[in-house]
Protein backbone atom coordinates (compact mmCIF):
# COMPACT_ATOMS: atom_id res chain seq x y z
CA UNK A 1 0.00 0.00 0.00
CA UNK A 2 1.19 3.45 -0.80
CA UNK A 3 2.13 5.56 2.17
CA UNK A 4 -0.56 8.12 1.37
CA UNK A 5 -3.52 5.76 1.69
CA UNK A 6 -2.12 4.03 4.70
CA UNK A 7 -1.38 7.16 6.68
CA UNK A 8 -4.65 8.82 5.76
CA UNK A 9 -6.42 5.77 7.20
CA UNK A 10 -4.23 5.83 10.30
CA UNK A 11 -5.09 9.51 10.70
CA UNK A 12 -8.82 8.80 10.59
CA UNK A 13 -8.39 5.87 13.00
CA UNK A 14 -6.61 8.15 15.49
CA UNK A 15 -9.36 10.74 15.06
CA UNK A 16 -11.87 7.97 15.81
CA UNK A 17 -10.06 7.04 19.01
CA UNK A 18 -10.03 10.70 20.04
CA UNK A 19 -13.76 10.93 19.29
CA UNK A 20 -14.43 7.85 21.44
CA UNK A 21 -12.34 9.30 24.27
CA UNK A 22 -14.38 12.52 24.23
CA UNK A 23 -17.86 11.08 23.86
CA UNK A 24 -17.66 7.56 25.26
CA UNK A 25 -14.75 6.86 27.60
CA UNK A 26 -14.49 10.17 29.48
CA UNK A 27 -18.25 10.47 30.19
CA UNK A 28 -18.11 6.93 31.57
CA UNK A 29 -14.99 7.45 33.63
CA UNK A 30 -16.36 10.71 34.97
CA UNK A 31 -18.74 8.67 37.13
CA UNK A 32 -15.95 7.87 39.60
CA UNK A 33 -15.90 11.53 40.63
CA UNK A 34 -18.65 10.61 43.08
CA UNK A 35 -15.91 9.44 45.46
CA UNK A 36 -14.56 12.98 45.70
CA UNK A 37 -16.00 15.86 47.60
CA UNK A 38 -14.11 19.17 47.34
CA UNK A 39 -10.85 17.41 46.68
CA UNK A 40 -11.32 14.88 49.48
CA UNK A 41 -12.10 11.20 49.15
CA UNK A 42 -15.65 10.87 50.40
CA UNK A 43 -18.54 8.48 50.48
CA UNK A 44 -21.16 11.16 51.11
CA UNK A 45 -22.84 10.64 47.78
CA UNK A 46 -23.26 6.93 48.54
CA UNK A 47 -25.19 7.77 51.68
CA UNK A 48 -27.56 9.81 49.55
CA UNK A 49 -27.83 7.16 46.84
CA UNK A 50 -28.64 4.36 49.27
CA UNK A 51 -31.69 6.10 50.71
CA UNK A 52 -34.73 3.78 50.95
CA UNK A 53 -36.25 5.35 47.81
CA UNK A 54 -33.24 4.39 45.68
CA UNK A 55 -32.81 1.04 47.37
CA UNK A 56 -36.34 0.28 46.27
CA UNK A 57 -35.59 1.53 42.74
CA UNK A 58 -32.64 -0.86 42.54
CA UNK A 59 -34.75 -3.73 43.90
CA UNK A 60 -37.62 -2.97 41.49
CA UNK A 61 -35.25 -2.83 38.51
CA UNK A 62 -33.67 -6.08 39.60
CA UNK A 63 -37.02 -7.81 39.96
CA UNK A 64 -38.27 -6.50 36.63
CA UNK A 65 -35.11 -7.61 34.82
CA UNK A 66 -35.01 -10.99 36.56
CA UNK A 67 -38.62 -11.94 35.85
CA UNK A 68 -38.87 -10.46 32.37
CA UNK A 69 -35.65 -12.24 31.36
CA UNK A 70 -37.00 -15.49 32.80
CA UNK A 71 -40.23 -15.22 30.80
CA UNK A 72 -38.33 -14.39 27.62
CA UNK A 73 -35.80 -17.18 28.25
CA UNK A 74 -38.42 -19.92 28.67
CA UNK A 75 -40.52 -18.89 25.67
CA UNK A 76 -37.50 -18.06 23.51
CA UNK A 77 -35.72 -21.36 24.20
CA UNK A 78 -38.87 -23.31 23.36
CA UNK A 79 -39.36 -21.27 20.19
CA UNK A 80 -35.74 -21.84 19.16
CA UNK A 81 -36.33 -25.57 19.66
CA UNK A 82 -39.47 -25.34 17.52
CA UNK A 83 -37.47 -23.67 14.76
CA UNK A 84 -34.66 -26.21 15.09
CA UNK A 85 -37.02 -29.15 14.72
CA UNK A 86 -39.07 -27.50 11.98
CA UNK A 87 -38.36 -28.95 8.55
CA UNK A 88 -39.73 -25.94 6.69
CA UNK A 89 -36.85 -23.65 5.68
CA UNK A 90 -39.19 -20.80 4.75
CA UNK A 91 -40.83 -20.72 8.18
CA UNK A 92 -37.38 -20.84 9.71
CA UNK A 93 -35.99 -17.93 7.73
CA UNK A 94 -39.04 -15.75 8.12
CA UNK A 95 -39.32 -16.30 11.88
CA UNK A 96 -35.61 -15.76 12.40
CA UNK A 97 -35.63 -12.52 10.44
CA UNK A 98 -38.75 -11.29 12.18
CA UNK A 99 -37.28 -12.08 15.59
CA UNK A 100 -33.98 -10.38 14.81
CA UNK A 101 -35.83 -7.21 13.84
CA UNK A 102 -38.38 -7.26 16.69
CA UNK A 103 -35.65 -7.89 19.27
CA UNK A 104 -34.32 -4.39 18.63
CA UNK A 105 -37.68 -2.65 18.74
CA UNK A 106 -38.45 -0.63 21.85
CA UNK A 107 -39.38 2.82 23.07
CA UNK A 108 -42.45 5.03 22.70
CA UNK A 109 -43.97 3.30 19.61
CA UNK A 110 -43.89 -0.06 21.40
CA UNK A 111 -45.34 1.35 24.61
CA UNK A 112 -48.22 3.05 22.81
CA UNK A 113 -48.93 -0.03 20.69
CA UNK A 114 -49.44 -2.01 23.88
CA UNK A 115 -51.66 0.68 25.37
CA UNK A 116 -53.95 0.20 22.36
CA UNK A 117 -54.04 -3.54 23.10
CA UNK A 118 -54.09 -3.59 26.89
CA UNK A 119 -55.13 -0.11 28.02
CA UNK A 120 -58.39 0.59 29.84
CA UNK A 121 -60.43 0.08 26.65
CA UNK A 122 -57.78 -1.98 24.88
CA UNK A 123 -58.80 -4.55 22.32
CA UNK A 124 -57.55 -7.48 24.38
CA UNK A 125 -59.12 -6.30 27.60
CA UNK A 126 -62.47 -6.03 25.82
CA UNK A 127 -62.12 -9.66 24.76
CA UNK A 128 -61.14 -10.70 28.30
CA UNK A 129 -64.08 -8.73 29.72
CA UNK A 130 -66.42 -10.38 27.24
CA UNK A 131 -65.19 -13.80 28.34
CA UNK A 132 -65.61 -12.84 31.98
CA UNK A 133 -61.88 -13.15 32.61
CA UNK A 134 -59.76 -10.73 34.68
CA UNK A 135 -58.32 -7.90 32.57
CA UNK A 136 -54.68 -6.82 32.32
CA UNK A 137 -53.65 -3.45 33.71
CA UNK A 138 -50.90 -2.25 31.38
CA UNK A 139 -49.80 0.43 33.88
CA UNK A 140 -49.21 -2.08 36.67
CA UNK A 141 -46.01 -3.97 37.39
CA UNK A 142 -47.35 -7.02 35.56
CA UNK A 143 -48.34 -4.83 32.62
CA UNK A 144 -44.71 -3.93 32.07
CA UNK A 145 -43.81 -7.64 31.73
CA UNK A 146 -46.24 -7.93 28.83
CA UNK A 147 -44.53 -5.05 27.02
CA UNK A 148 -40.96 -6.21 27.71
CA UNK A 149 -41.82 -9.69 26.48
CA UNK A 150 -42.21 -8.13 23.02
CA UNK A 151 -38.44 -7.79 22.69
CA UNK A 152 -37.27 -10.40 25.20
CA UNK A 153 -39.00 -13.36 23.55
CA UNK A 154 -37.63 -12.81 20.01
CA UNK A 155 -34.22 -11.84 21.41
CA UNK A 156 -33.90 -15.16 23.26
CA UNK A 157 -35.14 -17.03 20.18
CA UNK A 158 -32.41 -15.58 17.99
CA UNK A 159 -29.71 -15.95 20.65
CA UNK A 160 -30.53 -19.64 21.16
CA UNK A 161 -30.65 -20.67 17.50
CA UNK A 162 -26.85 -21.11 17.09
CA UNK A 163 -26.75 -23.25 20.24
CA UNK A 164 -29.46 -25.54 18.89
CA UNK A 165 -27.53 -25.62 15.63
CA UNK A 166 -24.71 -27.38 17.49
CA UNK A 167 -27.05 -30.29 18.29
CA UNK A 168 -27.07 -32.72 15.40
CA UNK A 169 -30.38 -34.37 14.60
CA UNK A 170 -28.43 -37.60 14.12
CA UNK A 171 -27.70 -37.59 17.85
CA UNK A 172 -31.40 -37.67 18.59
CA UNK A 173 -31.92 -40.48 16.08
CA UNK A 174 -28.96 -42.41 17.47
CA UNK A 175 -30.29 -42.04 21.00
CA UNK A 176 -33.74 -43.18 19.89
CA UNK A 177 -32.35 -46.24 18.12
CA UNK A 178 -30.44 -47.14 21.28
CA UNK A 179 -33.72 -47.17 23.16
CA UNK A 180 -33.66 -43.75 24.77
CA UNK A 181 -36.88 -41.76 24.90
CA UNK A 182 -37.03 -38.26 23.46
CA UNK A 183 -37.18 -36.85 27.00
CA UNK A 184 -34.22 -38.99 27.98
CA UNK A 185 -32.19 -37.54 25.13
CA UNK A 186 -32.96 -33.94 26.04
CA UNK A 187 -32.39 -34.58 29.71
CA UNK A 188 -29.00 -36.31 29.30
CA UNK A 189 -27.58 -34.71 26.16
CA UNK A 190 -29.58 -31.77 24.82
CA UNK A 191 -30.00 -29.65 27.92
CA UNK A 192 -26.40 -30.09 29.16
CA UNK A 193 -25.12 -28.95 25.75
CA UNK A 194 -27.53 -25.99 25.71
CA UNK A 195 -27.13 -24.93 29.33
CA UNK A 196 -24.18 -22.51 28.94
CA UNK A 197 -25.93 -20.76 26.06
CA UNK A 198 -29.20 -20.57 27.97
CA UNK A 199 -27.42 -18.96 30.92
CA UNK A 200 -25.42 -16.57 28.74
CA UNK A 201 -28.49 -15.49 26.79
CA UNK A 202 -30.46 -15.10 30.01
CA UNK A 203 -27.80 -12.70 31.27
CA UNK A 204 -28.08 -10.62 28.09
CA UNK A 205 -31.86 -10.47 28.49
CA UNK A 206 -31.44 -9.46 32.11
CA UNK A 207 -29.10 -6.59 31.20
CA UNK A 208 -31.40 -5.61 28.36
CA UNK A 209 -34.34 -5.15 30.72
CA UNK A 210 -32.26 -3.69 33.54
CA UNK A 211 -30.99 -0.78 31.44
CA UNK A 212 -34.19 -0.16 29.43
CA UNK A 213 -35.42 3.41 29.75
CA UNK A 214 -37.39 4.51 26.71
CA UNK A 215 -40.23 1.96 26.81
CA UNK A 216 -41.07 2.33 30.48
CA UNK A 217 -40.72 6.11 30.33
CA UNK A 218 -43.25 6.36 27.52
CA UNK A 219 -45.60 3.93 29.22
CA UNK A 220 -45.69 5.63 32.60
CA UNK A 221 -44.51 9.18 31.78
CA UNK A 222 -41.54 8.37 34.01
CA UNK A 223 -43.75 7.75 37.04
CA UNK A 224 -42.22 4.47 38.18
CA UNK A 225 -39.55 3.83 40.75
CA UNK A 226 -36.91 2.13 38.60
CA UNK A 227 -33.19 2.83 38.54
CA UNK A 228 -32.89 4.13 34.94
CA UNK A 229 -35.86 6.45 35.44
CA UNK A 230 -34.43 7.77 38.71
CA UNK A 231 -31.12 8.51 36.98
CA UNK A 232 -32.86 10.34 34.17
CA UNK A 233 -34.93 12.25 36.68
CA UNK A 234 -31.81 13.60 38.42
CA UNK A 235 -30.39 15.14 35.23
CA UNK A 236 -33.37 15.60 32.91
CA UNK A 237 -35.87 17.22 35.21
CA UNK A 238 -35.75 20.99 35.55
CA UNK A 239 -36.93 20.49 39.12
CA UNK A 240 -34.00 18.46 40.33
CA UNK A 241 -30.57 18.77 38.79
CA UNK A 242 -28.27 16.68 40.92
CA UNK A 243 -25.36 15.42 38.79
CA UNK A 244 -23.46 13.84 41.69
CA UNK A 245 -26.46 11.80 42.81
CA UNK A 246 -27.17 10.89 39.18
CA UNK A 247 -23.56 9.76 38.76
CA UNK A 248 -23.72 7.61 41.89
CA UNK A 249 -26.91 5.89 40.74
CA UNK A 250 -25.45 5.52 37.25
CA UNK A 251 -22.33 3.92 38.73
CA UNK A 252 -24.53 1.40 40.56
CA UNK A 253 -26.25 0.55 37.32
CA UNK A 254 -22.98 0.34 35.38
CA UNK A 255 -21.58 -2.08 37.98
CA UNK A 256 -24.56 -4.43 37.54
CA UNK A 257 -24.18 -4.24 33.75
CA UNK A 258 -20.40 -4.77 33.91
CA UNK A 259 -20.91 -7.84 36.09
CA UNK A 260 -23.47 -9.12 33.56
CA UNK A 261 -20.94 -8.64 30.78
CA UNK A 262 -18.27 -10.60 32.67
CA UNK A 263 -20.71 -13.43 33.42
CA UNK A 264 -21.82 -13.47 29.80
CA UNK A 265 -18.24 -13.78 28.60
CA UNK A 266 -17.60 -16.64 31.03
CA UNK A 267 -20.69 -18.45 29.83
CA UNK A 268 -19.54 -18.05 26.21
CA UNK A 269 -16.23 -19.65 27.08
CA UNK A 270 -18.02 -22.47 28.87
CA UNK A 271 -20.32 -22.94 25.86
CA UNK A 272 -17.31 -23.19 23.54
CA UNK A 273 -15.80 -25.87 25.78
CA UNK A 274 -19.08 -27.83 25.85
CA UNK A 275 -19.41 -27.73 22.08
CA UNK A 276 -15.76 -28.64 21.62
CA UNK A 277 -15.99 -31.55 24.06
Amino acid sequence: MSLGLRWASVGIALLFVFFLLLFEVLPGLLLVRVFWNEGQLSLASWAEATRPLFQRALRNSFELAFISALQGAVLGTLTAWALWSSANPLVKRFTTGLSAVAANFAGPPLAFAFIVLLGGNGFFNLILKGLGLPTVDIYSKEGLYWVYLYFQWPLMTVLMLPAFGAIQREWLEAARSLGSSQWGFWWRVGIPVLLPSILGSYILLFANAFGAYATVYALTQGQRNLLPLQIGFQVGGDISYNPVLASTLALMMALVLALSLVLYRLSRRWAAQMEGA
Binding site: L5, S9, L26, P109, F114, L155
Partner: protein, 261 residues
Amino acid sequence: MTRLLRRLLLLALGLYLFLPILASLAYSVATSWTALLPEGYTLKHWANLLENQRFWLSLGRTALLSFSVVALSIFFLVPTLFVVRMYYPKVAGVLEFLTLWPFVFPGVILAVGLISLYSGPPLQLAQTPFLLIAAVTVISLPYAYRAVDNAFAAADIKTLAEAARSLGADDAKTLAWVILPTVLPGVLSGGVLAFSAAFGEFALTQLLIGTLWETLPVYQVQLARTDGNGSAAITVLSFLAAWGLGFWALSLRKDAKVSVI
Protein backbone atom coordinates in the same frame (compact mmCIF):
# COMPACT_ATOMS: atom_id res chain seq x y z
CA MET B 1 -47.92 -33.82 19.95
CA THR B 2 -44.49 -32.40 19.14
CA ARG B 3 -45.79 -30.95 15.91
CA LEU B 4 -48.76 -29.34 17.67
CA LEU B 5 -46.52 -27.73 20.30
CA ARG B 6 -44.16 -26.49 17.61
CA ARG B 7 -46.96 -24.88 15.63
CA LEU B 8 -48.51 -23.34 18.71
CA LEU B 9 -45.23 -21.73 19.72
CA LEU B 10 -44.50 -20.22 16.32
CA LEU B 11 -48.08 -19.04 15.95
CA ALA B 12 -48.00 -17.45 19.41
CA LEU B 13 -44.78 -15.60 18.65
CA GLY B 14 -46.15 -14.40 15.31
CA LEU B 15 -49.34 -13.14 16.94
CA TYR B 16 -47.38 -11.45 19.69
CA LEU B 17 -45.21 -9.57 17.23
CA PHE B 18 -47.97 -8.59 14.79
CA LEU B 19 -50.99 -7.88 16.98
CA PRO B 20 -49.71 -4.66 18.60
CA ILE B 21 -49.04 -3.22 15.15
CA LEU B 22 -52.37 -4.27 13.71
CA ALA B 23 -54.15 -2.83 16.74
CA SER B 24 -52.28 0.48 16.32
CA LEU B 25 -53.13 0.54 12.63
CA ALA B 26 -56.81 -0.05 13.41
CA TYR B 27 -56.75 2.64 16.10
CA SER B 28 -55.16 5.17 13.75
CA VAL B 29 -58.09 4.85 11.31
CA ALA B 30 -60.92 4.38 13.85
CA THR B 31 -63.64 6.96 14.48
CA SER B 32 -64.25 5.63 17.97
CA TRP B 33 -63.45 2.27 19.43
CA THR B 34 -65.30 1.10 22.50
CA ALA B 35 -66.69 -2.23 21.33
CA LEU B 36 -64.67 -5.17 20.07
CA LEU B 37 -64.22 -3.60 16.64
CA PRO B 38 -64.11 0.12 15.78
CA GLU B 39 -67.49 1.78 15.06
CA GLY B 40 -66.30 3.29 11.82
CA TYR B 41 -63.22 4.11 9.84
CA THR B 42 -61.71 7.43 8.87
CA LEU B 43 -58.50 8.86 7.45
CA LYS B 44 -58.94 12.04 9.48
CA HIS B 45 -56.21 11.24 12.01
CA TRP B 46 -53.66 10.56 9.28
CA ALA B 47 -54.68 13.75 7.48
CA ASN B 48 -54.29 15.75 10.70
CA LEU B 49 -50.87 14.30 11.29
CA LEU B 50 -49.68 14.92 7.74
CA GLU B 51 -50.88 18.53 7.90
CA ASN B 52 -49.12 19.09 11.18
CA GLN B 53 -45.92 21.09 10.82
CA ARG B 54 -44.54 19.81 14.13
CA PHE B 55 -44.75 16.25 12.83
CA TRP B 56 -42.76 17.06 9.68
CA LEU B 57 -40.17 19.04 11.64
CA SER B 58 -39.64 16.21 14.10
CA LEU B 59 -39.45 13.67 11.30
CA GLY B 60 -36.91 15.88 9.53
CA ARG B 61 -34.77 16.13 12.66
CA THR B 62 -34.91 12.37 13.12
CA ALA B 63 -33.81 11.87 9.50
CA LEU B 64 -31.01 14.42 9.91
CA LEU B 65 -29.84 12.73 13.12
CA SER B 66 -29.94 9.25 11.56
CA PHE B 67 -28.09 10.26 8.39
CA SER B 68 -25.43 12.10 10.40
CA VAL B 69 -24.91 9.06 12.62
CA VAL B 70 -24.55 6.77 9.60
CA ALA B 71 -22.14 9.15 7.85
CA LEU B 72 -20.02 9.52 10.96
CA SER B 73 -20.02 5.76 11.68
CA ILE B 74 -18.93 4.82 8.17
CA PHE B 75 -16.36 7.62 7.98
CA PHE B 76 -14.74 6.33 11.19
CA LEU B 77 -15.22 2.58 10.91
CA VAL B 78 -14.19 1.76 7.36
CA PRO B 79 -10.69 3.34 7.38
CA THR B 80 -10.11 2.21 10.99
CA LEU B 81 -11.01 -1.42 10.39
CA PHE B 82 -9.14 -1.42 7.09
CA VAL B 83 -5.94 -0.25 8.74
CA VAL B 84 -6.34 -2.54 11.77
CA ARG B 85 -7.03 -5.65 9.67
CA MET B 86 -4.28 -4.85 7.18
CA TYR B 87 -1.40 -3.64 9.32
CA TYR B 88 -2.17 -3.69 13.04
CA PRO B 89 -4.15 -6.85 13.90
CA LYS B 90 -2.88 -6.64 17.50
CA VAL B 91 -4.97 -3.50 18.08
CA ALA B 92 -8.25 -5.30 17.27
CA GLY B 93 -8.79 -6.22 20.94
CA VAL B 94 -8.65 -2.59 22.08
CA LEU B 95 -11.12 -1.61 19.39
CA GLU B 96 -13.52 -4.35 20.36
CA PHE B 97 -13.29 -3.28 24.00
CA LEU B 98 -14.24 0.25 22.99
CA THR B 99 -17.28 -0.96 21.07
CA LEU B 100 -18.47 -2.99 24.08
CA TRP B 101 -18.47 0.14 26.23
CA PRO B 102 -22.13 1.09 25.49
CA PHE B 103 -23.23 -2.23 26.96
CA VAL B 104 -21.99 -1.11 30.38
CA PHE B 105 -22.78 2.59 29.84
CA PRO B 106 -26.13 2.70 28.01
CA GLY B 107 -27.95 5.87 26.95
CA VAL B 108 -29.14 6.98 30.37
CA ILE B 109 -25.69 6.66 31.93
CA LEU B 110 -23.88 8.21 28.97
CA ALA B 111 -26.23 11.20 29.17
CA VAL B 112 -25.25 11.81 32.83
CA GLY B 113 -21.55 11.97 31.94
CA LEU B 114 -22.04 14.06 28.81
CA ILE B 115 -24.19 16.67 30.53
CA SER B 116 -21.55 17.12 33.23
CA LEU B 117 -18.67 17.27 30.76
CA TYR B 118 -20.11 19.64 28.19
CA SER B 119 -22.29 22.02 30.16
CA GLY B 120 -19.51 24.59 30.45
CA PRO B 121 -16.24 25.65 28.80
CA PRO B 122 -14.02 24.54 27.08
CA LEU B 123 -16.55 22.59 25.00
CA GLN B 124 -20.05 23.92 25.61
CA LEU B 125 -21.95 21.38 23.55
CA ALA B 126 -24.77 20.58 25.95
CA GLN B 127 -28.26 21.03 24.48
CA THR B 128 -26.92 21.18 20.91
CA PRO B 129 -27.74 18.66 18.16
CA PHE B 130 -23.98 18.14 17.72
CA LEU B 131 -23.64 16.49 21.11
CA LEU B 132 -26.71 14.37 20.39
CA ILE B 133 -25.25 13.18 17.06
CA ALA B 134 -21.96 12.26 18.74
CA ALA B 135 -23.74 10.43 21.58
CA VAL B 136 -26.11 8.48 19.33
CA THR B 137 -23.14 7.51 17.13
CA VAL B 138 -21.46 6.03 20.22
CA ILE B 139 -24.62 4.14 21.28
CA SER B 140 -25.26 2.65 17.84
CA LEU B 141 -21.59 1.82 17.32
CA PRO B 142 -21.83 -1.85 18.40
CA TYR B 143 -24.28 -2.62 15.58
CA ALA B 144 -22.33 -0.83 12.87
CA TYR B 145 -18.98 -2.12 14.12
CA ARG B 146 -20.09 -5.75 14.18
CA ALA B 147 -21.41 -5.63 10.61
CA VAL B 148 -18.39 -3.81 9.14
CA ASP B 149 -15.93 -5.98 11.07
CA ASN B 150 -17.62 -9.16 9.83
CA ALA B 151 -17.40 -7.85 6.27
CA PHE B 152 -13.65 -7.26 6.59
CA ALA B 153 -13.11 -10.61 8.30
CA ALA B 154 -14.97 -12.50 5.58
CA ALA B 155 -13.19 -10.64 2.79
CA ASP B 156 -9.64 -11.54 3.89
CA ILE B 157 -8.40 -8.23 2.46
CA LYS B 158 -4.70 -9.04 2.90
CA THR B 159 -4.87 -11.86 0.35
CA LEU B 160 -7.08 -9.76 -1.93
CA ALA B 161 -4.61 -6.89 -1.87
CA GLU B 162 -1.67 -9.16 -2.66
CA ALA B 163 -3.53 -10.79 -5.54
CA ALA B 164 -4.49 -7.42 -6.99
CA ARG B 165 -0.94 -6.17 -6.71
CA SER B 166 0.53 -9.23 -8.40
CA LEU B 167 -1.85 -8.56 -11.29
CA GLY B 168 -0.41 -5.07 -11.62
CA ALA B 169 -3.03 -2.91 -9.91
CA ASP B 170 -1.69 0.07 -7.99
CA ASP B 171 -2.89 0.80 -4.48
CA ALA B 172 -5.64 3.25 -5.30
CA LYS B 173 -7.02 0.81 -7.88
CA THR B 174 -6.81 -2.09 -5.42
CA LEU B 175 -8.77 -0.15 -2.83
CA ALA B 176 -11.35 1.24 -5.22
CA TRP B 177 -11.94 -1.84 -7.38
CA VAL B 178 -11.16 -4.80 -5.12
CA ILE B 179 -11.38 -4.09 -1.41
CA LEU B 180 -14.22 -1.57 -1.16
CA PRO B 181 -16.63 -3.47 -3.46
CA THR B 182 -16.00 -6.64 -1.45
CA VAL B 183 -16.83 -5.09 1.93
CA LEU B 184 -19.60 -2.82 0.61
CA PRO B 185 -22.63 -5.05 1.45
CA GLY B 186 -21.42 -5.46 5.02
CA VAL B 187 -20.73 -1.74 5.36
CA LEU B 188 -24.17 -0.95 3.97
CA SER B 189 -25.77 -3.41 6.37
CA GLY B 190 -23.96 -1.76 9.30
CA GLY B 191 -25.06 1.64 8.06
CA VAL B 192 -28.69 0.56 7.84
CA LEU B 193 -28.56 -0.89 11.37
CA ALA B 194 -27.02 2.32 12.72
CA PHE B 195 -29.71 4.33 10.92
CA SER B 196 -32.43 2.21 12.48
CA ALA B 197 -30.94 2.54 15.97
CA ALA B 198 -30.64 6.32 15.59
CA PHE B 199 -34.17 6.60 14.19
CA GLY B 200 -35.72 5.08 17.31
CA GLU B 201 -33.35 6.61 19.85
CA PHE B 202 -35.22 8.14 22.77
CA ALA B 203 -33.31 8.09 26.08
CA LEU B 204 -30.34 10.20 24.95
CA THR B 205 -32.53 12.57 22.96
CA GLN B 206 -34.88 13.19 25.83
CA LEU B 207 -32.13 13.73 28.40
CA LEU B 208 -29.62 15.67 26.29
CA ILE B 209 -31.92 17.98 24.36
CA GLY B 210 -35.57 17.11 25.05
CA THR B 211 -38.16 19.34 23.47
CA LEU B 212 -35.60 21.94 22.35
CA TRP B 213 -34.92 19.78 19.31
CA GLU B 214 -37.86 17.44 19.09
CA THR B 215 -37.26 14.18 17.25
CA LEU B 216 -40.09 11.84 16.24
CA PRO B 217 -40.17 9.62 19.39
CA VAL B 218 -39.99 12.68 21.67
CA TYR B 219 -42.80 14.33 19.70
CA GLN B 220 -44.84 11.13 19.92
CA VAL B 221 -44.67 11.17 23.71
CA GLN B 222 -45.92 14.79 23.69
CA LEU B 223 -48.66 14.02 21.15
CA ALA B 224 -49.91 10.92 22.97
CA ARG B 225 -51.14 13.12 25.83
CA THR B 226 -53.68 14.85 23.61
CA ASP B 227 -54.17 12.69 20.52
CA GLY B 228 -54.05 8.92 20.91
CA ASN B 229 -55.09 8.24 17.31
CA GLY B 230 -52.35 10.46 15.89
CA SER B 231 -49.84 8.79 18.19
CA ALA B 232 -51.01 5.40 16.88
CA ALA B 233 -50.29 6.60 13.34
CA ILE B 234 -46.73 7.48 14.40
CA THR B 235 -46.44 4.00 15.96
CA VAL B 236 -47.36 2.45 12.60
CA LEU B 237 -44.80 4.62 10.79
CA SER B 238 -42.08 3.75 13.31
CA PHE B 239 -42.80 0.05 13.00
CA LEU B 240 -42.69 0.24 9.21
CA ALA B 241 -39.38 2.09 9.34
CA ALA B 242 -37.80 -0.30 11.86
CA TRP B 243 -39.01 -3.47 10.15
CA GLY B 244 -38.19 -2.23 6.68
CA LEU B 245 -34.69 -1.20 7.70
CA GLY B 246 -34.19 -4.37 9.74
CA PHE B 247 -35.12 -6.73 6.93
CA TRP B 248 -33.05 -4.69 4.50
CA ALA B 249 -30.00 -4.98 6.77
CA LEU B 250 -30.58 -8.74 7.14
CA SER B 251 -30.90 -9.22 3.39
CA LEU B 252 -27.41 -7.74 2.99
CA ARG B 253 -25.78 -10.42 5.12
CA LYS B 254 -25.74 -14.14 5.50
CA ASP B 255 -26.27 -14.50 9.22
CA ALA B 256 -29.08 -13.12 11.35
CA LYS B 257 -27.07 -12.22 14.44
CA VAL B 258 -28.64 -9.81 16.87
CA SER B 259 -26.13 -10.08 19.66
CA VAL B 260 -23.49 -7.41 19.45
CA ILE B 261 -21.21 -8.80 22.16
